[in-house]
Symmetry: C2
Subunit: 254 residues, 2 copies
DNA sequence: CCAGTAGTTTGATCCGGATCAAACTTTGGC
DNA sequence: GCCAAAGTTTGATCCGGATCAAACTACTGG
């Protein structure tokens, strides 16, 4: 739902086809869910809504009469009875608010002040059925979010805390690179506890593991939200270590 | 990608809209990705392929020139350098083989003998652009798979082995209920090691935890692949325990 | 600028599941 | 039906991260 794919990706695609790939290459524009034209076409039927930091965008179980497209700010989509368990972080241009049975399945809350388009489902729906290109782009976006979610699951499948966090940082970095933001430094808009809820670690473990990475000179925090990777090789080694190690040997074979 | 949603769901939906909801209610037919008509329309452009148990359907990085729709059997989609880490189990009617940059990102392998439709991308693509209903159904299917993947991530976010396995069994059960298969007993087509790779536990932990559940009379195995839930209340208690517990308290607040 | 609170670090202890290892059981081929 | 290989159970040990708890730091609003 949120993070960009590795930097060697050119855009979301389904069935190996993607109009943006060539678009992006030709125009050199940043990858976007909706083109400017499309965005303004949608703007006609959309209203702009604002949420304060910490404010609920919607709650699980609410009547799902609109979907959202973030213009600026960061939000989280979360679920679980306890309200913990972050399903996705939502960044500008992310589309969210998919429903099931007409109700939102997750809740969403602004982590920073958020501005977003609010698209009433009824209007968007009729648009969709008439606008093949838009529909196609929705497919692309869904593929992207599916991959994102699979990445998240992949991250959670890793057992070691450092690998989980390194993977998370990599996701953040790639997102920012894809958007053309300041490379070199990584911006971490969410707090330690949110990170923990996303990567499946306790708040304490997140802090401790960051501390350990800093102590080993792999990363360096400028302040609580900005860091840079000071030892790329070591960083990549941590990431690589995650895969290819778990030797699940079965039965007796010497 | 694979499991069905909870039984109170009527079908996949995007934006709160789903043509199958009414269809299903009217006809009482089982929920399907493709209607019979659609399936046969696709069959024209599809070839039927068979895979032996353990055979690769495709490998990560292979040229992605086709997608698949399982007719019978069970497969797994997996990734990770080590080839461990199962992303999804694939059951009949599941659509898989989405690509990125024209290459498969995951690998897929048959767990049982598998029969499947193989749909060449090129043909399907032109179909898609002309067939609005098909395109719409692809959207629905993608939403379903997205939710599935989010469920998987949710499962992996849980730390306790018994909750993970109970959740997994619940997914299997719901899938089988949705397909109208034998309720009462749950069929587990994959081996312990595959389960471990999906739920993020070691092979040993899977076996031990199953053992413990059996010892507590929560479930009972008829044989290695068939089990039933003998104490529903206890089972549900395990599931419920997963949520609402993780008290991530921050700072000092007495 | 200060107080109060939200957020973060750090310490100590404990436990669940990984890991290593060996026996046991089922399956499939001949 | 027998053997080998595949798959499963079970035991012992160990370690990473959860959990409990307290101190520290950075914001925020008055």
């Amino acid at each position: 739902m949120a993070f960009a794919e590795p930097s060697d990706r050119k855009g979301p695609s389904i069935l190996g086809v993607d109009p943006w790939v060539s678009d992006t290459r030709k125009t050199g524009k940043k990858r976007e869910l909706l083109s400017e034209a499309e965005r303004s076409r949608l703007a006609v039927i959309a209203s702009i809504v604002r949420f304060k930091k910490g404010e609920d965008i919607y709650r699980a179980g609410d009547r799902a009469d609109a979907i959202f497209n973030i213009i600026s700010g960061v939000a989280k989509s979360y679920s679980g009875k306890g309200g913990d368990r972050i399903v996705a972080f939502l960044f500008p241009n992310d589309l969210f608010g998919l429903s099931e049975e007409g109700r939102y399945t997750n809740a969403a809350r602004a982590l920073t002040p958020v501005t977003a388009y609010r698209l009433p489902v009824s209007v968007l729906r009729s648009r969709l059925s008439r606008d093949a290109l838009l529909e196609y782009h929705v497919i692309c976006k869904l593929c992207e979010e599916l991959r994102q979610s699979q990445r998240h699951a992949f991250l959670l499948g890793e057992r070691r805390a450092d690998v989980r966090l390194a993977t998370f940082l990599q996701m953040l970095e790639q997102l920012q690179v894809a958007k053309g933001d300041t490379a070199g430094e990584i911006y971490v808009p969410m707090d330690r506890s949110d990170i923990g809820e996303y990567v499946g670690l306790s708040l304490a473990a997140v802090s401790r593991t960051f501390g350990s990475l800093v102590r080993h000179n792999v990363i360096k925090f400028r302040d609580r939200r900005w860091l840079k990777i000071t030892d790329r090789a070591a960083f990549d080694r941590i990431l690589a270590d995650g895969a290819g190690r778990r030797t699940v040997r079965r039965g007796r074979n010497p």
